[in-house]
């Protein structure tokens, strides 16, 4: 180990190490080198993804804060602004799933707090290996427990999310968490430090040896190496986070703060250098003043990732008041330095200067790399002959409903408090959660989605599909999409076709977002999700927010009354990359963005005119599963006829096609059809009624009693975990 130069042990390349003295005009001190290694990691610098991210649309009439701050902020009308962001905590969750997932939630919540916002909702997007693997069962159950523990204890409802299981996540699971918050009357707080002479206050938990090396080692090296770094695991303290939430709300509303920043990856180093660089000022920090839990070296204090800490800039005359508010909330708060003229970040220890360098070198000047873009070969369409046609389609239907990827996610969301705050209008289990905006007649809808199997065989189409599915989920509850956040989970972009897939996925997402007029206001990148033997699927998770002008106008997916007409909006699906076929590869028809957007617009218009009795996105498991989900939710069956020259199982279980299933009162069908753009296909399938779902495909009739569907759907996940 010792003959490896320090910079390489820290994860810097030889070129990067050579660049540092050039920029600095001298050799860095050891603490400085450690700081560079963390700030120049992919996690902090986005050095491989920055150029690609420029492809996203990021502006719009509602955007109050786009990418670049701790979270994006959107104007939702009625004088209300909402902050949102999604973030990954993948590697820490693979090492210690409970604490890793819990601290992931804590981190994203602090990003929202740092904007001066009050968190009102959380979502989680999860990917694990198949549940037939004991290791995956362990990681999954512990991660869910950790997410629940943190969210439940801080009193922010976890209103939605998604999960899927695939072998390719066996060694690199994904834990992404999204948080949404409401800005207070104080408006947006930003991270830029200002006003030489102002005080720099560290508050929240004491600093310990938690997560030291975490940013560079846990977030950008491959897991095999990370496993040696086990003792640096962070332990979550949601009780302190809740006090921070309440305390920051009080501080933000009373206008006590000049700037606010959370401490996340790379701890004080990252928070201080970003605050200084953004504000174009210097900061002078006395490390001896940092409250410690144990004895630490200066470099350790600078990079510790102890959780539940915030850094604020405060006017000298408000310092005493600010510290008193923290004390009232039983939180440590200590002035550890001040804002200075110039641009240097200075850190002192024992009276000596141990760090003195321009903050922007750390925060902004990491080298940027173009990823190689080696296209993967185009797939060939799935050969249906390789998939035996089931003799009993009803049994195949019920089996599909019980697969963990399709089955009810009740086992997960009942472990999460999805109600706290008394604003949850639509609970988990439907297409999107609907959350009332307190003090207003409006509500927002929230969803996370990703079409990772589609992204593998056609990353551009998969990028489009991920965005469009999120938008359909919002449209189905009657919410107009207004803003997005994204988390790009990929393997090593320097190898194989990953760089190309990353670029293509982003291009596809950008295209669909532009067509929907939905800007990306924040996001996160997590690369190197692979082991020596296996890489994850390209997984660009989309978190999307929609708006309802009237909180009481949302639509659910439950079938309502017997006699309601069932309509299918959209095109046919295929079995390539479907849950039913469960075979990798295939080739998918092009995603026609403008037609799919027109279909979304139709459902939105119908919702706005109050025509919809129910609406549901057709996703995993295809039409048959979507029909069953609406029937189970409503406790009433339906008949649906689909005429088609294709194989019965393809008609029933095929996926894609940008489809939505809606029901209307019989008298409203004509009005609905009148709203449709001519490019959108609308088919009448049948009527709601009875206690079974009856599908007539050509000459075949398949009947599944609603109770049998429910038994399979509710059994799936608990049985897979037993």
């Amino acid at each position: 180990m010792s003959d490896v130069p320090l910079h390489r042990q820290l994860g810097l390349t030889d070129d990067e190490a050579a660049l540092i003295p050039e920029l600095l005009g001298r050799e860095p001190t050891d603490p400085e080198l450690v700081m560079f290694s963390l700030m120049w990691s992919e996690h902090c610098s986005y050095k491989h993804s920055k150029p690609l991210l420029r492809g996203f649309p990021t502006t719009g009439a509602r955007v109050l804060q786009g990418p670049g701050e701790n979270a994006g902020v959107v104007d939702v009308g009625d004088g209300i602004a909402v902050a949102l962001k999604i973030e990954s905590h993948n590697h820490p969750s693979a090492v210690e799933p409970f604490e890793g997932a819990a601290t992931g939630v804590g981190g994203i919540v602090r990003d929202i707090i740092a904007m001066g916002a009050r968190p009102i909702a959380l979502l989680d997007s999860l990917r694990f290996g198949e549940l037939t693997s004991a290791r995956s069962r362990h990681l999954f159950t512990r991660a869910v427990a950790g997410i629940g523990h943190y969210g439940n204890c801080i009193g922010v409802p976890t209103v939605g999310g998604e999960v899927s299981f695939d072998d390719r996540y066996e060694e690199s699971c994904l834990v992404n968490a999204m948080c949404v918050g409401i800005l207070g009357p104080g408006g947006i707080l930003r991270a830029a430090a200002q006003g030489p002479g102002n005080a720099l206050v560290l508050f929240g938990n004491k600093t310990g040896r938690d997560g030291i090396g975490g940013a560079s080692v846990l977030a950008s090296a491959e897991l095999d190496e990370a496993e040696d770094k086990r003792p640096s695991v962070q332990v979550s303290d949601p009780f302190t986070e809740r006090k921070l939430m309440d305390c920051c709300r009080e501080l933000a509303e009373s206008g006590t703060l000049v700037a606010l920043q959370d401490l996340g990856a790379a701890g004080l180093t990252s928070a201080a250098s970003e605050m200084a660089a953004k504000g174009g000022v210097g900061l002078d920090i006395d490390l001896d003043l940092v409250p410690l839990r144990e004895t630490l070296a200066p470099a350790e204090i600078l990079v510790s990732e102890s959780q539940e800490r915030m850094l604020a800039v405060v006017l000298p005359e408000k310092l005493e008041e600010m510290i008193a508010v923290c004390r009232r909330w039983d939180l440590d708060a200590t002035a550890i330095g001040s804002v200075t003229e110039g641009e240097n970040l200075v850190a002192r220890s024992g009276g000596a200067v141990v760090v003195d360098l321009p903050a922007r070198l750390l925060a902004d000047d990491a080298p940027v790399y173009e990823v190689p873009r080696v296209p993967a070969p185009t797939g060939t369409p799935l050969d249906l002959a390789t998939i035996p046609e089931p003799a009993d389609l009803a049994a195949a239907w019920a089996d599909l409903l019980a697969r963990p990827n399709i089955a009810s996610k009740r086992w997960i969301y009942e472990r999460y408090d999805h109600l706290v705050g008394a604003n949850t209008i639509r609970r988990p289990g439907g297409d999107a959660a609907v959350v009332r905006l307190p003090g207003s007649d409006r509500a927002i809808a929230l969803t996370t989605d990703c079409a990772e199997r589609h992204c593998e065989i056609d990353p551009r189409g998969g990028g489009r599909a991920s965005v469009l599915e999120a938008a359909r989920n919002l449209a189905c509850v009657g919410a107009r999409p207004v803003a997005a956040t994204d988390c790009l989970n990929f393997p090593n972009p320097e190898k194989g076709s990953t760089g190309w897939r990353l670029a293509e996925s982003i291009a596809g997402m950008a295209e669909a977002l532009t067509a929907l007029d939905v800007p990306v206001v924040s996001g996160n990148v997590s690369l190197y999700n692979e082991s020596a033997t296996r890489s994850i699927l390209p997984t660009p998770v989309v978190g999307m927010m929609g708006l309802l002008e009237r909180a009481d106008s949302s639509v659910g997916h439950a079938f309502a009354d017997a006699g309601d007409v069932v309509l299918l909006v959209g095109d046919d699906g295929v079995l390539d990359a479907s849950e039913y076929a469960a075979s990798p590869g295939g080739a998918l028809p092009d995603v026609d963005v403008s037609r799919e957007v027109a279909a979304i617009e139709l459902v939105l218009r119908a919702a706005e005119e109050g025509l919809l009795r129910s609406a549901h996105d057709v996703s995993g498991g295809g039409l048959a599963v979507a029909l069953a989900e609406c029937a189970m939710a409503g406790g009433i069956g339906a008949t649906a006829r689909v005429d088609s020259g294709r194989r019965d199982d393809e008609v029933m279980f095929g996926e894609g096609g940008g489809r939505m299933l809606v029901t209307l009162a019989a008298g409203d069908v004509e009005r609905f059809q009148g709203l449709a753009d001519p490019s959108v296909r609308v088919r009448r399938l049948g009527e709601v009624g009875g206690d079974a779902i009856v599908m007539r495909v050509g000459a075949t009739e398949v009947t599944l009693p609603v109770e049998r569907a429910r038994e399979a759907y509710e059994r799936g996940l608990p049985e897979a975990l037993a």
Binding site: A145, G148, H149, N152, C153, I154, G155, D237, P238, F239, T240, R242, K243, D246, W329, D330, Y413, E414, R415, Y416, D417, H418, L419, V420, G421, A422, N423, T424, I425, R436, A551, D552
Partner: protein, 212 residues
């Protein structure tokens, strides 16, 4: 004069604001009572201990909060016959303070559970079940990790029982009162069931007990 309800706030209280909204929805006035104060706000008619994870639920749920300075004042208020309701963590606090019988233990599911529940009225003579007869069913959500009531159901004044004893409470108890009936605690969250938009208004029936 409208009733003034003091809504307690401990570090880690989560449901303060929703409880305030529910109380105000009933036409009462809500005022905050801070854990470190020795007295209830002037003019307090009734007290609500909202849900949450006071002191992080460390040691035992409600244990640390039950020893906070404000609890002396709550005790005096209760002993003088004043109305007190504890919801979820507030119920745990009242049991730990000895103002209600029994203790709340880990759910037999060994997991947190958030679910809409049907509750059966077990005692229609308390102030917390006005207009309801014994056996009537109301729907209010639960969300807790340590919600299994343990105690002597024979001597305790049981107000509400679960129809489905999911958490493993003694005798399916969801809520109990003291012998006089002026103090009551329940694990389900009535403040989350005070608005048709959120699915149920049955919580208003229980909380109406605060308004004499």
């Amino acid at each position: 004069m409208s009733t003034t309800v003091a809504v307690l706030r401990f570090p880690g209280t989560l449901d303060h604001d929703s409880a305030v909204r529910a109380v105000e929805g009933l036409g009462a006035t809500a005022v905050e009572a801070w854990h470190a104060d020795a007295a209830l706000p002037a003019g307090t008619d009734a007290v609500l201990l909202p849900g949450g994870f006071s002191y992080g639920d460390h040691l035992r749920c409600g244990a640390i909060a039950s020893r906070a300075p404000i609890m002396g004042a709550v005790r005096r208020h209760a002993e003088a016959g004043g109305r007190v309701v504890g919801i979820c963590n507030g119920f745990q606090v009242l049991c730990e303070a000895g103002l209600l019988p029994g203790a709340l233990r880990r759910n037999s599911t060994l997991s947190f559970v958030c679910r809409q529940m049907e509750l059966e009225v077990a005692d229609d003579e308390t102030p917390w079940t006005p207009g309801l007869e014994t056996g009537a069913v109301i729907s209010i959500p639960i969300k807790n990790n340590e919600g299994a009531w343990y105690g002597d159901a024979g001597t305790a004044r049981v107000v509400l029982r679960y129809r489905d004893n999911l958490l493993g409470s003694t005798d399916a108890v969801a809520g109990v009162a003291n012998a006089a009936g002026n103090v009551m605690g329940l694990m389900p969250h009535p403040e989350e069931a005070c608005d048709a938009l959120l699915g149920s208004t049955d919580g208003q029936i229980v909380l109406a007990g605060l308004i004499a």
